[in-house]
């Protein structure tokens, strides 16, 4: 922890000049952010392909020879794990957290740049270990992303040997990487804010990322504990989670362990994980909405309170994933209540986003389209959460496609809508060029309408009672033939959405070289990251002097101001100062 940061010694700031120090062993938060981002998008594409393969099997069963039950479960597992941990967590916190924190709070870099660099390389190692499991005997684990013992480490499950060991190792390495990065994010936010940047003047993006990082730091240990203990059960033969059992006719040596204990640990991590993904998305979408609606975010204080409240509550709702796990059913009363309480701050956030649009001056740019799309998908996903959180309704719906549709809506599609909004919004800052508007709009329409065509009907398969994680439905009396064609249509939509991501990839890489040169602050935003002397910002972000902050991040359309936005580092004019005071007294 003793590496002297370059944070605030501009005189000692040496710009790295060789290619290696600039792009590979870089300690610059912006380069590390891009490294995180590109790696995450790469594994995300792997997971996207896996989901396509799953959908092919579900939509057109008995057609594809290379997808057998074994491979199918491996696709399911790796798709889930990659998307939740290695894409969403890494991209939102490692990518956007790294890029935006120092810029938005007016710092030159993270406070521990060396540790920040180590964090990325450790993350890369975890990704390599994860992908290596595709090439070991038995292939990757097919235990489902929840990795429930006993089956995760017993014969009869794909990859029960090497696959699960590599999976657990990769998770442990990821947790180390996240902890190094996370310490940086929280310390930087607490310690390296520039002059005048009080906590309540921070943009909501920073609030979201900060709270999510704190959640991550406190929740990931639970995953680490369960991973270590399961690893010992697998490798040394301890019985932490393994009861006495007979596996495929063979009496094993395990005694007395508790599989439900693993589930408690897993979900004590797993539920905060949902908000580790959601809170940064909440924050970023708030800023995108405010900027493009030319209006301050409605109810800023309520938004901050809601983020903090959701973060706190997320630690006491975990067992709502376990209503039918065989735990004592009386827990259901407590966890159903806490779960539905969380709906209140979450709903308030949705209201405030919509009220931000109300009486705004809405520019329907590509980031704004994605942000509005997010409100729609998140509303839908949040409302179906009220079904599953209510313990009684969970009885018929748990472990059906309703669950799959719900969590894809709420923590798949919604955060990804925000990620796209964020990438398009900050693209000019990161590259100094504008993206292609037409391709961006095409990308939006395909993604938005396509994903809704996937997940709306999927809820109804769940109502019907179609179970998740089934390789094929076979013949059952209660599932009509029409459900098969419904599945096929879902698959077609999924493939279209998958392929339409090429618009995005092409746009990103093409515009990097050929896009129109961006103005310094193309969206006329108020927050600090757009006020750097250079676009894209150089190493060290600011010129010789750090900016001073005079106001909150949302001074849009202030009555009487010459422009419809006032940057945070814009000093207060004489008459405005008195006006503010009068209002304060009033």
């Amino acid at each position: 922890m003793q590496h002297v940061a370059i944070a605030d010694q501009p005189d000692e700031l040496h710009d790295p000049d060789t290619f290696i120090t600039k792009y590979i062993w870089s300690q610059d938060h912006k380069v590390i952010a891009i490294q995180y981002g590109l790696t995450a998008i790469f594994v995300g594409l792997v997971a996207l392909v896996l989901s396509g393969l799953m959908r092919l099997q579900l939509g057109f069963p008995d057609t594809f020879d290379f997808i057998d039950p074994n491979a199918y479960l491996q696709f399911v597992t790796m798709h889930g794990m990659i998307m939740v941990i290695y894409l969403l967590t890494a991209l939102l916190l490692g990518g956007f957290g790294n890029y935006l924190i120092p810029l938005m709070i007016g710092a030159r870099d993270m406070v521990f740049p060396y540790m920040n660099m180590l964090s990325y390389w450790t993350y890369l190692l975890s990704v390599i270990v994860l992908l290596a499991s595709f090439f070991v005997p038995g292939g990757p684990t097919g235990a489902g992303w929840t990795l429930y013992p006993p089956q995760a480490i017993l014969q009869g499950t794909p990859g029960y040997d090497w696959g699960i060991i590599l999976m657990l190792a990769s998770l442990a390495i990821f947790i180390v990487a996240f902890t190094m990065g996370g310490l940086n994010y929280v310390t930087t936010v607490l310690q390296a804010r520039t002059r005048g940047m009080t906590l309540m003047r921070m943009p909501l993006t920073i609030w979201g990322i900060f709270t999510a990082t704190v959640l991550g730091l406190l929740a990931f240990p639970a995953l680490l504990v369960s991973a270590i203990m399961m690893m010992l059960d697998k490798v040394i033969g301890t019985s932490f989670f393994m009861p006495a059992l007979v596996s495929l006719g063979e009496n094993l040596d395990y005694t007395g362990g508790s599989p439900v204990l693993f589930q408690h640990l897993f979900w004590f991590f797993g539920h905060p994980e949902v908000y580790i993904v959601a809170l940064p998305a909440f924050g970023m979408v708030s800023d995108v909405l405010a900027t493009h609606a030319r209006k301050n975010i409605f109810g800023y204080r309520m938004m901050v309170w809601a983020i903090v409240a959701i973060g706190g509550l997320s630690f006491i709702v975990w067992a709502h994933h376990m209503y039918v796990s065989g735990m004592h059913p009386a827990f259901g009363f407590f966890f159903a209540t806490t779960t539905l309480i969380i709906a209140v701050p979450t709903a308030l956030k949705v209201y405030n986003w919509v009220l931000t649009l109300w009486q705004g001056n809405i520019h329907l740019t590509v980031p704004m389209l994605f942000a509005i799309g997010f409100i729609f998908t998140f509303t839908h996903g949040g409302l179906t959460g009220l079904f599953l959180g209510n313990v009684t309704i969970d009885l018929p719906l748990s472990d059906t496609y309703f669950v799959v549709a719900h969590f894809h809506m709420v923590m798949g599609v919604s955060p990804i809508m925000v990620l796209f909004a964020a990438i398009y919004h900050w693209y000019p800052l990161m590259t100094g060029r504008m993206f292609n508007e037409t391709l961006g709009k095409l990308h939006f329409w395909f993604t938005f309408l396509g994903t809704y065509a996937i997940y709306l009907p999927m809820h109804y398969l769940g109502f019907l009672g179609v179970p998740r994680r089934y390789f094929a439905m076979g013949s059952t009396d209660f599932i009509p033939e029409s459900a098969v064609s419904l599945n096929a249509s879902i698959t077609v939509s999924a493939l279209i959405v998958g392929v339409s991501q090429l618009f995005f990839l092409y746009n990103v890489f093409w515009s990097m070289r050929h896009g129109k040169k961006a103005e310094p602050n193309p969206w006329h935003a108020t927050s600090l990251e757009w006020q750097t002397p250079d676009v894209p910002p150089h190493h060290g972000n600011w010129g010789p002097e750090l900016p001073t902050v005079y106001r909150w991040a949302y001074d849009y359309s202030v009555p009487g101001a010459p422009e419809d936005y006032i940057p945070q580092n814009h000093p207060v004019s004489a008459e405005e100062g008195t006006a503010g005071e009068e209002e304060a007294h009033a």
Partner: protein, 450 residues
């Protein structure tokens, strides 16, 4: 503008989809109509919010679209409005939660007069245990589990002697009687779910969980495993048959008790040799099989498998399908064995014969077949040696033309589609994973190397 229209259309489309969709809950067959009511309440409240929020947003997008001459309204917050929204949301949440908790209290509290039935889950089948006349289930433990004691009954517990053991995936329950299912697993997590009953619960090894309901409609309902339990998770099916009380009692009477099962005498190989003479005409004196007569090898097959297949032929589960030419020939043959004891004798005799090592008759690439076999090996064993616990027969040493025909029969539902065939229906699902003839040939070529 476009966006506002699309948002409105999406809302209208979602509502229409809901009302026009043929996919909805299956008709209820238990007492849990209160669950359906709770769902309806939640559905109307959330539906109203969904419509209101999105239509409002669509209107805002349209009404306040960019206009260079206008400036956005400046309003940091509105305490009063936010308070109202908080209160309304809280009321809505309470309206959904309260009925949920009331119904959950019913779910937690089992009626005192409920009948007890044990459900035992294992990879990848269901079996059931009734407490017998004494009304008490005998003690069980994983360490007692073995080929002759699949339920793990404690040998010295008198309460277990009259327990009725149903070693089949079909459970019968009497109509209008509350039943408490005690759920137990011998290996991994499973979940006992019947969509028409609405309730479900996980089976956890080392622990007994429960679920209760009252069947209110006669009929036959699918039991699905709804907690991922390995490769054949999707093939772990069963049935619940809800009968009138008389039908139920007569069914229960046909099921063996634990003490009856223990009393069955073993087969006599010497007597079996005489009874095998008829079979030998086609299957060969050493049970080696004969391709010309379409007779598979019998030597090397485990006795319990042969016994089950003979029982299936005798009861029309196998060999009754009009397209099953060779099965139809076998069915009358199987009926020539007069009773259960003679079946046990023949299988005991076959057990004493050495396993054959037939020549391969199919072109195939064993290397490619090895990867197909990963899934099969989960049940049939890495060396295709078979596994009693999963009721999976030995495949090594079987004639490949026969296996190919059976795979084909399974794929087409000629074999295994009878609902009484516990294990056959799993093979129907499994065989469909092999899509073309080449993969089948490769797989069988690999089996010939084992």
């Amino acid at each position: 503008m476009k966006l506002a229209i699309v948002l409105v259309l999406l809302v209208i489309g979602s509502v229409l989809f809901h009302f026009l969709s043929p996919w909805w809950f299956t008709p209820l067959a238990s007492n849990w109509d209160t669950i359906d009511t709770t769902i309806d309440v939640t559905f109307w409240i959330t539906g109203a919010v969904f419509i209101a929020v999105n239509l409002f947003m669509a209107y805002a997008v349209y009404r306040y679209r960019h206009n260079p001459k206008r400036r956005a309204h400046y309003e940091p917050e509105n305490k009063k409005l936010e308070w109202w929204l908080t209160i309304i949301t809280t009321v809505g949440v309470v309206a959904m939660l309260a009925p949920g908790l009331v119904v959950w209290a019913d779910f937690v509290k089992v009626p005192e007069d409920a009948d007890q039935v044990e459900v035992l889950g294992e990879q990848w089948q269901w079996s059931y245990r009734f407490p017998g006349e004494d009304g008490k289930l005998g003690a069980v433990d994983a360490r007692w589990i073995g080929p002759d004691n699949p339920f793990g009954m404690a040998p010295d517990d008198p309460a277990g002697a009259d327990d009725v053991l149903v070693r089949s995936n079909e459970l019968h329950l009497p109509l209008d009687r509350p039943v408490k299912l005690l759920l137990r697993s011998r290996d991994v997590l499973h979940d006992f779910a019947v969509p028409q009953f609405r309730v479900k619960m996980d089976l956890v090894p080392g622990h007994v969980s429960y679920v209760w309901f009252t069947p209110t409609r006669t009929g036959k309902f699918d039991v699905l495993c709804m907690e991922l339990c390995g490769i054949a998770h999707y093939a772990m099916r069963g049935y619940v048959v809800v009968d009138s009380n008389e039908d139920f009692q007569s069914w229960l009477g046909e099921q063996p008790t634990w003490s009856e099962i223990q009393g069955i005498p073993p087969g006599d190989a010497v007597a079996g040799q005489g009874q095998y003479a008829t079979c030998a005409a086609c299957h060969g004196a050493q049970g080696e099989g004969n391709e010309a007569l379409n007779a598979p090898a019998l030597a090397g097959l485990p006795d319990w498998y042969i016994a089950r297949q003979l029982a299936h032929y005798r009861s029309g589960i196998r060999g009754a399908h009009p397209e099953d030419t060779y099965g139809q020939q076998m069915a009358p043959m199987a009926n020539m064995l007069p009773d259960e004891q003679s079946v046990r004798n023949v299988t005991a005799y076959l057990d004493s014969l050495p396993a054959a090592a037939p020549a391969s008759t199919l072109p195939g690439n064993p290397k490619a077949g090895a990867s197909h076999y990963t899934t099969c090996g989960a049940c049939h064993g890495a060396q295709a040696q078979g596994n009693y616990a999963l009721q999976a027969p030995r495949l090594a040493g079987q004639q490949d033309w026969y296996l190919k025909r059976q795979l084909d029969n399974f794929r087409q539902g000629i074999r295994g589609s009878d609902q009484r065939d516990n294990y056959g229906h799993q093979m129907v699902l499994m065989a469909r994973a092999l899509q073309d003839e080449q993969s089948v040939n490769d797989l069988l070529a690999y089996l010939n190397t084992l």
